[in-house]
Amino acid sequence: MQTSERKKPNYLNAEHTVASWLLTVDHKRIAILYLVSITLMFFIGGLMAGAIRTELLTPAGDLMSSDTYDKAFTLHGIVMVFFFLIPSIPATLGNFLVPLMIGAKDLAFPRLNLLSWYVYIVGATIGIVATVTGGLDTGWTLYTPYSTAYATTNVVLPAIGIFITGFSSILTGLNFIVTIHKMRAPGLTWFRLPLFIWAHYATSIVMVLATPVIAITVLMVVLDRGFGLGIFDPKAGGDPVLFQHLFWFYSHPAVYIMILPAMGVISEVIPCFSKKRIFGYNFIAASSLSIAVIGFFVWGHHLFTTPQSMYAAMAFSIISFAVAVPSAVKTFNWAATMYKGSITFEAPMIYAFGFMGLFLVGGLTGLFLGALGLDLHVHDTYFVVAHFHYIMVGGAIMAYMAGLHFWWPKITGKMYPEGPAKAAALIIFVGFNLTFFPQFLAGYAGMPRRYHYYPPEFQIFNVLSTAGASILGFGYLLPLCYLLWSLRHGREAGPNPWGATGLEWMIDSPPPPHNFDTTPVVNWEPYDYPAAHRDAAKDAVPEAASV
């Protein structure tokens, strides 16, 4: 701390009171508020995952009752999806970096940004309280007619929690869109934007257009359940499949809310540690937008086993194949970026490698599931569970870890310890695969999801999976320890420890309260690696980076 106190104040030490945090409108402090809250959520969700895996160690349902088990996986799903993964990268790294990367002093609507955090906290608290007071056993998908007519658990409160949290993500999306349109530094044209910004722009479109639908859908569940409105009740002329249409109209695009920002992180990390210009910049930028758009047309692939008409199913199946194309475009471009680069293996890069491999497996198995005939066999089995964990944990959380390590020096001014970080990345990779790969096999062999007991022939897969989960859990605890340790004992980072390009690396670490003393003027192309010496604004020029 001594060195930074000698210098200009930064956003962390400019003010110290609790109120200066809870009432802050600084996007960087709000990012920290989000970081702390979603970390808490991650551990609540993780605890439930531990409970699930422990139960599944043996074929008999011996640790908890069916009811308790149902509540455990529902809480796990709701917390991880709505309260952790959806806000994860956008609300922490995105909040912190979007203004820095475009040379702005803050987001367009700083107060709205703070409001989004409070809205999130209220929604998440209601969600958690609901589970303490009875729990919910519908699964995170809240399918009707179970949720509207039969479930005896507490459906209404968590639904309201989801409803409220949705608004926080709409506010974040809105803020990003306006900021990216209106507040770019002079010279920072659209095609000079970091791909992280493109990814967040695409994500914001999805947030703003899709989230209202989930809000209204869960509200309809509440109305059906509380007042017998009958929207989803055939006896009243309603249709339970309509719920699935509406739910997935949001929730498929929502999976892209989770993965697009992750792809944005990877597009920053890979060129930096390959010391090479990104390959196919325009294609990566355009593929983010096309994923956002095509992602709105594929939701019916979750309804292949319902009475959905087979013609609709065929259309949805074909479009699901199409949506894999832009993801593949990105993957090929990342690979081409690394080709003949001078690659170094710092922890963020190891996570990025993990992302690429695991996302590939997740995406390709998505195509298996998108194939009409095969899906009838594996629908609602552990194959599906493995598919989406490969993408959401292997993809999105890996990228989140990559980003957290990559920008940790910028956020805190301190380096994390490289040795433990590399070890953690490898442990997480190994633990992850051991946890989820056996689930592909179990699912393909026919083990259905969401039961707490199973035929003994599946035990081998489950023992492997539980063993992997304990390694994975240990792996996630490591960063919690050494990152906190580094706050006090970490080496001073300096403005640009990685020799990275991008405006955020041209100011002090941690950044000053208002980011840029003078507005930078951008007259260079993005990702002009190797080297990062240039004139942003005269006094924003960093010392030459030492790696």
Binding site: L209, A210, H245, F296, F297, G300, S309, M310, Y311, A312
Partner: protein, 103 residues
């Protein structure tokens, strides 16, 4: 709206005109409800509603004279909404069209 210098009197006049139009259309909706036009009932009601919505968007929400970007964003919202209606309808209307269960 940087291109338009703001003229409060003209703006208030525009708002009042639109407001009376909206009221007029509301009366029209009520009147139309008393006339049975058969299959045209919905068409007429929707036509009136859409006209009102367009007025609100153009004048009260300043789409007219505003940046084309705002038009783009509103259109994409409407487009999204259309997808949400169209695909479930595609499902509903093409169920059992061959008269064979499931086909």
């Amino acid at each position: 709206m940087p291109k338009h210098s703001y003229n409060p009197q003209a703006a208030v006049r525009a708002y009042l005109t639109v407001f009376s139009c909206l009221m007029g259309f509301t009366a029209l909706t009520v009147a139309a409800a008393f006339v049975d036009l058969g299959p045209m009932n919905n068409v007429v009601a929707m036509a009136i509603a859409v006209t009102k919505a367009v007025l609100v968007a153009m004048i009260f929400m300043h789409l007219r004279g505003g940046s084309p970007l705002n038009v783009l964003w509103i259109s994409s919202g409407i487009f999204g909404f259309m997808i949400m209606l169209a695909f479930p309808l595609l499902d509903l209307l093409s169920r059992n069209i061959l008269g064979i269960p499931g086909k």
